[in-house]
């Protein structure tokens, strides 16, 4: 009896989480178009709803009604499963994000490690999309993207380890609680770790200046060429959810999570997260794209040494 109630409770939580994510992704898509428009001295979507806020819903309906084209020689199972492998890890990472003092789905005591493990599964999804399309351009795009994500995971994890060393714990709530005095961004070695983290995170989610897999002016469209309709929408939504997750993690690790005065904690959390999302979008519309070999060189020759040096300095400071 109790287990059935428990099961129903889990279902309800799951539905709340999914609906929040769907709404958040749609809001992010609208925000991106508005931010990019205002940077370029124009207005963006204005027709559907107040200042175009229902535009994402209109786009979703359009994508739902599109014909689902499947390439004939595609490897059916892999091609069909690939979008799920890209979207599901982002949703799963949502479980350990602390929105408030007790507003967290489940405070695992290996929170950060869980997130790192889950995001590596996303790489498999991209690889599957590239292979299953039976299209040599998609395969190239998929391989390049996989190489990019794997190379940039190392500086990412190194920066996160610095935070974990300071907080003495892997659990997300404990990391936030350890910042009740000063936010971690105010320590100089943490500020450097934050810079490295933000750059690696931009590369992880395939945004400019690191969006080679989606580069329109070079290859046809990269790994998601052969997808149309709802599957393409899932890649798209997956990307924006990833942006949200990455910013939420940055807020938790470096900016004090939900700490703040006067307003309720969730307002602080969402405010900080959306500020970081704005920074990511701002960078997207300013910089040109980096070339593939320069991308790898940047990760291995610049970011990794900096994080390693940072790690050594932090260890020395903590041991003193």
């Amino acid at each position: 009896m109790l287990s059935i109630l428990h099961f129903i409770w889990m279902l309800i939580i799951g539905l709340i989480v999914l609906s929040f994510l769907a709404g958040s992704a749609m809001f992010l898509i609208w925000l991106e178009r508005k931010v990019s428009a205002h940077i370029q001295s124009r207005l963006g979507p204005m027709r559907v709803g107040w200042h175009g806020i229902l535009q994402s819903i209109a786009d979703t309906i359009k994508l739902l009604l599109k014909e689902d084209i499947r390439p004939v020689k595609a490897d059916k199972l892999i091609w069909w499963l690939a979008p799920f492998f890209v979207v599901v890890p982002s949703v799963m990472a949502f479980v350990v994000i602390p929105f408030g003092k007790t507003l967290i789905v489940k405070d695992l005591n290996v929170g950060i490690l869980y997130i790192m493990a889950i995001s590596s599964v996303g790489v498999i999804g991209i690889f599957m999309a590239g292979w299953g399309s039976n299209n040599k351009y998609s395969l190239l795009g998929g391989m390049r993207s996989a190489a990019q994500i794997i190379s940039y995971e190392i500086p990412l994890i190194l920066s996160i380890i610095i935070v974990v060393m300071h907080a003495n714990s892997l659990s997300m709530q404990k990391i936030v609680a350890a910042q009740s005095g000063y936010w971690y961004i105010f320590y100089p070695n943490m500020a450097l770790a934050f810079v490295v983290y933000i750059i690696s995170a931009t590369a992880e989610v395939n945004r400019t200046p690191f969006d080679i897999p989606e580069a329109e002016s070079e290859l046809a469209a990269g790994f998601h060429t052969e997808y149309s309709g709802m599957k393409f929408a899932m890649f798209f939504v997956g990307e924006y959810t990833n942006v949200f997750i990455v910013s939420a993690i940055a807020t938790t690790l470096f900016f004090g999570g939900w700490h703040g005065y006067i307003f309720p904690p969730i307002v602080w959390f969402l405010g900080k997260t959306y500020s970081i999302v704005f920074i990511l979008m701002w960078a997207k519309w300013t910089f040109p794209r980096v070339r593939v070999d320069q991308l790898m060189g940047f990760a291995w020759k610049v970011l990794t040494p900096i994080s390693l040096v940072n790690l050594a300095i932090t260890g020395w400071l903590l041991l003193k």
Binding site: H38, I39, Q40, S41, R42, L43, W282, T286
Partner: protein
Amino acid sequence: MINYPKNFIIGAWSLIKGLAVTLKYFFKPVVTLQYPDEKLSMNDSYRGLVGLNPEKCIVCNQCVKICPTACLAIASRQEDKKKTLETFKYNMELCCFCGLCQQVCPTGAIIMTNIYEISVYDRKKFDIDLLNVKKYDEWTDTTVK
């Protein structure tokens, strides 16, 4: 070896300066108009579709001769020493909006109006009879308000 961090800092600083430019424009007002609710209006010398004042025309055929794409066609009849117009056909598809006909007309009969929204759904609308007074009624005239 000492160049390496120096190059890195110069590079990073250049990126931040670029970000400052974009942020500046984020807060400035937009420069676009919401078409079709707000339209740009053209001044008098704009070279839009061709129009005609038939009473001024003396059927000298200069406009027909000078048009580079031969989009005008005139037919007239003689009425004791004065020629009057019968038909004045204008093929909008061929017109290149150069303004030579307006420049060469001695009486100012043929003019270029301000109409610039000239897309049509029907190919037959390309042949315009310039003597028809109501020809441009469905089309928008965008004189300076």
